[in-house]
Symmetry: C2
């Protein structure tokens, strides 16, 4: 089986993406990024899931707090109970995050000898995030094919797979359920408590809860009390 690098956060989307990469015949290598996110708890979720699925996991540290500009890395409040996907780009947008993540995935792919990258972006739920759109994925693929030693020497032709790009959260959960994704191990909340329990009120929690509800799949999330 050919190796593929899967960007992996331990959330619903990237865990589903990992299962799809495996179903599509690749040996997935998970890459998690600890970027100074306030919800660094997701890294421990990523570790648990990688163990459960018997997938190798690499964690790279990049301190995006040095750049700032986002409620996820700077000292800004995570918005709660706001309409999703209707207003301007949300403050939880991390500048150039998926560009940075795919760049790191590309470096790791080159080291592994992998030509395939998976990223769990979707343009439906995150219409406010420019780096979740199909044109972003295509532009990165074009970049990868001039940026690397492997491509420059003709050893590789990179493909960036975004299998969730046109699915909504319910569609992702239905797909993942059919692949037996262990959603009870995943973590989504932007603002968890110290035990990792979800707040129920940030954008990410609400998208997740609505996704399970619409998919007709029991929501395994552990919420904190009085959130």
């Amino acid at each position: 089986m050919n190796p593929a690098v899967v960007l992996f956060s331990g959330g619903v989307d990237s865990t589903t993406c990992l299962a799809i990469a495996r179903e599509e015949g690749f040996a997935p290598h998970a890459l998690a990024i600890r970027y100074g996110q306030r919800h660094a708890f997701e890294i421990s979720a990523a570790e648990r899931i990688a163990r459960a699925l018997e997938v190798p996991l690499r964690v790279v540290d990049v301190d995006l707090r040095a750049i700032g500009g986002s409620a996820l890395t700077a000292d800004l409040a995570v918005p709660k109970d706001q309409p999703i996907g209707t207003g301007p780009i949300p403050v939880t947008y991390v500048p150039a995050r998926n560009t940075i993540f795919l760049a790191l995935a590309l470096g790791y792919a080159e080291v592994l000898g992998a030509s395939d990258l998976y990223i769990g972006v979707n343009a439906i739920d995150y219409s406010g995030y420019p780096d979740c759109r199909p044109e972003f994925v295509r532009a990165f693929e074009a970049l990868a094919n001039v940026a690397t030693a492997a491509a420059a020497t003709g050893r590789a032709r990179y493909r960036v797979h975004a299998p969730l790009v046109s699915l909504d959260k319910a569609g992702i959960i239905r797909r993942g359920t059919s692949l037996r994704v262990p959603y009870e191990l995943t973590h989504s909340c932007y603002d968890p408590d110290l035990l990792g329990r979800a707040c129920r009120r940030c954008d990410s929690c609400r998208l997740r809860a609505a996704g399970f509800r619409e998919a007709g799949v029991p929501d395994p999330t552990e919420y904190r009390q009085g959130g």
Copy 2:
């Protein structure tokens, strides 16, 4: 003056690039990346130069040792006394390094409200590095213009400037000398001693020394003894 983000390592090329950005009318914001390089001494050179030129400097940490694959970040020997630019891609190539660096620069630019990025790549001396070529620079510029909130909302049109791309080291040093670049503060060596003195024998040292020689500019480098 509009702000521009300049990728900055404290070496000859990026210091020249910084001076060019300023000459071209921008307020340069230097961004240095501490990526686990064995020559992390270059960060202290970057700090000295930024102070001398009165340019703000931000340092971002990204641990590329977690990815490996290069003599600059892994436990491989730095080659000495080898022909340059003739063989295959050298082991000092860091997988996807400039993609990762430009991605970080893009994030910082977005936070600053800058639309201009400068990178001191050149395709002459580093013909073995795929991410130093003009087509790489153009592909990244295209990516930037779909990847970011600023571009998606029409607030910015990114430009990636690579003013050294068609200069050789002597040409860069001549250009920088005319801009009064303080080369005595710069650092190039891949394998310095603990005092930061250059080895004289790695690719980077030899390109630098030949550049000063060809440019007819006195070489201010402090070399270690018996290198």
